[in-house]
Amino acid sequence: MKIKTEGYQISWFNLALIILGGFALLFIIGPVLGMFLHSSPVKVLETVQDKEVQASIFRTLAIAFTGTLFFAIFAVPFAYILARKEFSGKRLITGIIDLPVIIPHTAAGIAILGVISRDSLIGKGAGLLGFQFVGHPAGIALAMGFVSIPFLINAARDGFLNVPVRYEKAALNLGASPIQVFLTISLPMAWKNVVSGFVMMFGRGMSEFGAVVIVAYHPLTTPVLIFERFTEFGLSYAQPVAVIFILICLLVFILLRLLSVKKVAR
């Protein structure tokens, strides 16, 4: 049975899909929109000028971006190996990559802390150099990276899988070394996926609270600051910070997406 409208027909099935999909979309948009509507513009403007808020936002973005860039140096070549090479235990490794996504992030924080605490081997090594991961931006970057690196690895691997091997064979035949093939053919052709994974990792990293709060409550990242203001002063103090952070996240997200689209379109 079909519903007739003026220009076209919609089947009951399609209508059901639209309604159910609409609810899913509302579930995402509703709380965010509600928060924007309940926040007083005056309070938001006041919060924008708050030095502590400004510092935490800048810190969060800087640590997340630097961390993502640092981990990309390892994650992208690893993704290429996963896309191109066959080896025993590959399925197991592919499963392990997704582990940070499914474990509770506070547990992830505990796991990271176990590796970088003052008593650990790495922590002692860092201590000898006069520096500690715990309570340091580097520790925050590790916590952010741990929970978000699967996004980059998986997206980059899918990107490399989408590059037909024949292009790489052709480049080899034209005299390129394997590393030149990777840098001039595979990576540019998988660029869209790599950037998309980078954006996802960056976005997921900067919004991380659970793992970060265990590794480093201070210096404050914005998610920790929102939590702190909520527990100490209540919802009305936490809301403006959340609104500002969401807007900045959206802005950065859109900018990076546009950048990746332009790069591909060239």
Partner: protein, 344 residues
């Protein structure tokens, strides 16, 4: 000279079995055979993209079997389009030169020269996804030549082109070859093979079953498969009645002046058959009455499907006066020149 010696490779579901070929400098060598015969795998082994399980490859008497693919001066144009989609035509041609750190001036000079030779100067700034099939092949060959390849391997370069582009590219390949380049060319189109090859090999199930000059393969195909593959249509199982008489399908008896020791199949090539529209007086030796079952017209020829108790095919040139007199159902006299029969 490129010398391929007893190359074997187990690859997915088939086995490349001890392939040996010597390709002389400046030769146009065509490798033909049905799909899945292993032709493309052999090319990838020669180019160094995949390694053989055993055997050796010598280029100008230097063993290159284990030489890295980048260091072999063998250009390969793949069957599928491998022009890099994120680069323009010009950037694609520049690629092997930039990889080898040629200076900017040298790169520009070489790209201009090759583009002129290949007739692609007007499309240098185009994106590769906007090219026609013929343009893709020209740019692919130009890119392979830019890398100073001494040997050019072409894997089905004409197979996806329309008739006009095919003819243009065929002429271009002949012209490149005349400049001294050694070309190895894969095709399953026997017409293309005969038009281009100095020498050709027929490959089936990972083995080369015949390798010779095209004319020689036509004169003496080694098997029914080769005869069929290179385009002979009139081949028949035979029984020997005597050393000078054989019988096709137990229906047609042919007397042969030459002594036949053993033969299971014969091929009746075009030149062994003649047709006459006067059939009343069947008096000559090896002459039979046949009926024209079908006439198929081509731009330069006419193909007759005949029935003389078994199906037979004869091609006449468009200029042949006989064509106007022939109609389907007409009885004709068919004479077989037994001296031109090919015994398999």
């Amino acid at each position: 000279m490129l010398s391929i010696q007893q190359i074997s490779k187990r690859y997915n579901n088939f086995f490349l079995n001890e392939i040996s070929i010597d390709i002389k400098q400046g030769e146009y060598f065509v490798l033909t055979g049905p799909s899945g015969a292993g032709k493309s795998v052999l090319f990838e082994i020669i180019a160094g993209i995949i390694n053989a399980d055993s055997g050796a490859i010598f280029l100008n008497e230097i063993n290159i079997t284990n030489l890295a693919v980048q260091k072999r001066k063998i250009g390969l144009v793949f069957q599928d389009n491998t022009l890099f989609p994120h680069l323009t035509v010009k950037q694609n041609i520049k690629y092997p030169l930039k990889i080898r750190n040629f200076d900017h001036f040298e790169i520009s000079k070489r790209v201009t020269e090759i583009a002129d030779d290949m007739g692609i100067s007007a499309i240098l700034d185009r994106r590769t996804d906007s090219l026609s099939g013929g343009e893709i092949q020209r740019v692919s060959i130009a890119r392979a030549l830019a890398g100073n390849a001494e040997y050019l391997l072409l894997d089905e370069p004409l197979s996806s082109l329309d008739i006009q582009s095919k003819e243009e590219l065929r002429i271009l390949l002949k012209s490149i070859h005349k400049q001294g380049l050694t070309i190895l060319h894969i095709t399953h189109d026997q017409r293309e093979a005969f038009q281009l090859a100095d020498r050709m090999a027929v490959m089936v199930n990972g083995q080369i079953i015949q390798c010779d000059k095209p004319l020689q393969i036509c004169k003496a195909p080694v098997s029914k498969f080769v005869a069929d593959f290179i385009g002979f249509r009139n081949f028949y199982p035979v029984k020997l009645f005597s050393r000078n008489q054989l019988c096709i399908n137990e229906k047609i008896i042919i007397n042969s002046p030459q002594t036949i020791d053993k033969s299971d199949f014969i091929v009746l090539p075009e030149q062994a058959l003649s047709i006459n529209d006067v059939y009343d007086d069947i008096s000559g030796e090896n002459s039979f009455t046949g009926i024209i079952k079908e006439i198929t017209y081509f731009p330069d020829s006419v193909e007759l499907t005949l029935d003389i108790g078994l199906p037979m095919y004869k091609t006449l040139q468009q200029s042949d006066d006989l064509i106007d007199k022939l109609t389907p159902g007409l009885k004709v006299q068919i004479s077989i020149d037994s001296s031109k029969i090919i015994f398999l």
